[in-house]
């Protein structure tokens, strides 16, 4: 059964037609990499899946339930969809531990002890257990992004959306974040990631979706698609990034 399903999704910003009939079906445990030129609608696609943006036509379901931007619906959705941003978006006035504990305590209403245990376990998973009491701005970009991953994981999402989460990092810090993602993929968590890391998409990802001009232009098994692209646009794109 599909975990995330998009059916003929159209999205406009005013007159600007950004998503032009997206069909996409993601099953539990898949690692789907979304690639494509800047402006092709990759971020918009992710943001429609978690209700941050409204779409005008078509339908999106997550775990069988319709996605809308309605406030209450959105909060229910937040329980199954986690998101990690390019700029980390950690809360600067909270320690690493408080960042991770916040939503489990006030959204899931876990006790402080329980939330702390989860937070420590998640930070352990991303290799930052010892940073529990540090403030985000004392951490490197790579560490901040790993905290953001731990923060999302603490809500036990069914699917994790990642929007170019290594793009703001210095090159030497990219590896540590990808390693965490690879670990998560191995554990079977469903990942949908917009990425420019072609090696990661090929080696870790199960499927690659190439977006072009607001459409899913080409998609398929990651190794096959990247070594044997069918369309000229994808050939050109792969030529440009490699």
């Amino acid at each position: 059964m599909s975990l995330v399903n998009l059916h003929q999704v159209h999205k406009y910003y005013g007159d600007h037609h950004v998503l032009k009939g997206i069909d996409l079906d993601i099953k539990a445990g898949e690692v789907v990499s979304i690639i494509g030129k800047s402006g092709s609608g990759k971020s918009t696609l992710l943001r429609c899946i978690n209700g941050l943006e409204q779409y005008q036509q078509g339908g999106i379901t997550v775990d069988g339930k319709e996605v809308t931007t309605d406030d209450i619906q959105m909060r229910r959705l937040a329980l199954s969809v986690g998101m990690i941003f390019q700029n980390f978006n950690l809360f600067p006035h909270m320690t690493v531990g408080e960042n991770v504990m916040l939503a489990p305590t006030i959204v899931l209403k876990k006790s402080k002890a329980e939330a702390e245990a989860t937070a420590r376990a998640m930070l352990e998973k991303v290799g930052l257990a010892e940073k529990f009491d540090s403030f985000p701005e004392k951490l490197s970009g790579g560490q901040q992004q790993r905290v953001a991953i731990a923060r999302a994981l603490a809500m036990s999402p069914k699917v994790l959306l990642c929007d170019e989460i290594t793009s703001a990092l210095d090159p030497e810090l990219v590896g540590e974040v990808l390693k965490v993602l690879e670990q998560l993929a191995k554990e079977g968590i469903t990942l949908v990631l917009v990425t420019h890391e072609m090696n990661f998409a090929r080696d870790v990802g199960s499927r690659v979706v190439f977006m072009h001009q607001g459409k899913v232009w080409e998609q398929g098994d990651s190794k096959t698609l990247l070594s044997n692209p069918q369309t000229d646009e994808l050939k050109q794109f792969i030529g440009a990034v490699l």
């Binding site: 941050l52 406030d71 909060r75 937040a78 809360f91 320690t95 939503a103 006030i106 959204v107 403030f135």
Partner: protein, 220 residues
């Protein structure tokens, strides 16, 4: 010759004036900043209509003299059947005044917080109120804290005007004493020092609170 010792017999008058000014300052600072926070939030995140209402209030207050606002509340409102004591009228006037000025300052703080913070809270499932109180407010206040502190001090100093509707504040005490013993220089000199002391104390209190609220700036 100066005769500061002539003031000694009036020390009770000064102290009681000082007490009134301090009480009003503490109360109106808290209420005014609370009002300003609500207005700033509406102006930043509210719908068109409520934004419009807040804008009218803020501009009305910022473009009229405080003494006229005070007189309007104290002398004008009874015409609408609202009788207020001088103390109550002053409290309301000062709160409304600080509310408007601090709304503008606090709104700038809210505007400085990146949209990503709001979105991160949203995707974690926080509702709007939780997002504001847990995520947005503290960093927003940190950005504008010096300006907010100064504004509160300006309003405290501006409260001298309430002696005009015979609230027995510090300035009222000074007027009273110099009218009795004709020691205008001594009386106003001492009063000025007291206001200076209050300003310093208020700034000190704000700094101490800021150190606690924004501890993350200085931590480890």
């Amino acid at each position: 010759m100066l005769y500061f010792s002539d003031l000694l017999q009036y020390s009770d008058v000064f102290l009681s004036g000082l007490k009134t000014t301090v009480e009003l300052t503490v109360l109106t600072t808290i209420l005014g900043v609370a009002l300003g926070t609500v207005c700033a939030t509406v102006r930043q995140y509210g719908n068109r209509a409520s934004q419009r209402v807040v804008s009218v209030y803020v501009e009305l207050i910022r473009n009229t003299p405080f003494i006229v606002q005070l007189f309007f509340i104290f002398f004008g409102l009874p015409a609408l059947g609202m009788m207020l004591s001088p103390w109550q009228a002053s409290m309301i006037a000062l709160t409304i005044n600080l509310g408007a000025y601090s709304a503008e300052i606090i709104r700038a703080g809210l505007a400085s917080i990146s949209k990503g913070q709001m979105e991160a809270a949203k995707v974690l499932g926080l509702n709007f109120r939780q997002t504001l109180t847990r995520v947005i407010f503290i960093p927003a206040f940190e950005k504008i804290y010096p300006a907010l502190t100064s504004q509160c001090i300006i309003v405290m100093l501006g409260s001298a005007v309430i002696s005009q509707i015979s609230v027995q504040d510090l300035t009222y005490a000074a007027n009273l004493v110099q009218s009795r013993n004709f020691r205008a220089f001594e009386s106003y000199f001492v009063t000025a020092l007291m206001y200076l002391g209050l300003s310093i104390l208020l700034r000190f209190a704000f700094n101490a609170l800021g150190k606690r609220l924004f501890a993350y700036r200085t931590a480890n």
